[in-house]
């Protein structure tokens, strides 16, 4: 970290590059959530969006203020994503037992 090999101001590890990567992940997650019709694929898109949010928190806490609140927030985002994946996939498996389908348009009734 301390070696200043070339200091021409073209360092790519900066806040905008992190924001750009997080932006790509967010847009891809949004496209997956909108375009896919499989419920598990939609959950994949949700995971992408949660990861982009957590990456933003970690990047801001490193580049803007050097306390660790953003890391704590990313940690809770990871915990919530794990809980969401567990319950969501349980719902998907139950839905598949009832309807023999994982298509999102088949999920129209709350009670079988």
């Amino acid at each position: 970290m301390q070696d200043h090999v070339e200091d021409n101001g073209a360092n790519m590890i900066s806040l905008p590059s992190y924001l750009f990567l997080s932006f790509i992940m967010f847009i891809a997650g949004l496209v997956v959530m909108v375009a896919r019709k499989n419920i598990i694929a939609i959950l994949l898109g949700v995971e992408l969006i949660l990861n982009s949010a957590a990456l933003n928190f970690a990047a801001y806490t490193r580049f803007i203020n050097q306390n660790l609140e953003g890391n704590i927030m990313s940690l809770f985002i990871i915990v919530i994503a794990a809980a969401e994946a567990a319950v969501g996939l349980a719902i998907v498996i139950r839905f598949f037992q009832l309807k023999e389908s994982v298509h999102i348009d088949d999920a129209t009734q709350l009670q079988a």
């Binding site: 790509i24 891809a28 375009a35 660790l68 890391n71 704590i72 809770f76 994503a81 349980a90």
Partner: protein, 176 residues
């Protein structure tokens, strides 16, 4: 120098995995590519100096969530056959080229506008070399979790217990 290489590799992994999740037709393959994306995000955390976050990202996502997703994909019989390149079934009224072009352009315009607005606030950003040197964050995060954020910590434990019991109850096969 090592950080630059790690950042480039992680960024390439993130972008390639993300595009693979979007454009892959096979759902098993999409799950595996999502695993690549999550590994890349862990590498980005490591570049940021968030070592505890990188380790927990690897453990929780690679060990828990992706395995769970793969189990769910296999239990529900993989992906459907009647799908086009984006994994969309051909339904009338959606999925035409026109709607996707319009939606993509709208999303792009909105996002670029928001990022442009944000960039004006961030003109004076710092580079990584000018920041204080890396120190381990594990002991600080542990101290903060049991002092400042102890309520959120306990609530998240209750949330995880509820999610565990709820998932077991929901996925249980019912008889009669």
């Amino acid at each position: 120098m090592f950080q630059d290489i790690l950042f480039i590799c992680s960024a390439i992994l993130v972008i390639a995995g993300t595009l693979g999740v979007v454009f892959s037709k096979n759902l098993m393959r999409a799950c595996t590519l999502l695993l690549g994306t999550l590994f890349g995000v862990a590498g980005l955390y490591a570049v940021l100096g968030a070592d505890f976050l990188a380790a927990s990202q690897l453990v929780i996502y690679a060990g828990g969530v992706i395995i769970l997703m793969l189990f769910a994909v296999m239990l529900t019989g993989g992906s459907a056959d009647k799908a086009n390149k984006f994994g969309i079934e051909k339904i009338m009224g959606m999925g035409s080229v026109k709607t996707y072009v319009i939606a993509g352009l709208t999303v792009l315009v909105f996002s670029l506008t928001i990022m442009k607005l944000l960039a004006s606030f961030l003109k004076g950003y710092q580079k990584l070399d000018e920041l204080p040197a890396f120190t381990s964050t594990v002991d600080k995060i542990g101290t903060m979790l049991v002092t400042d954020h102890v309520l959120a910590f306990e609530i998240s434990s209750i949330l995880l217990l509820g999610a565990l019991v709820g998932a077991a109850v929901i996925a249980r096969p019912r008889r009669g």
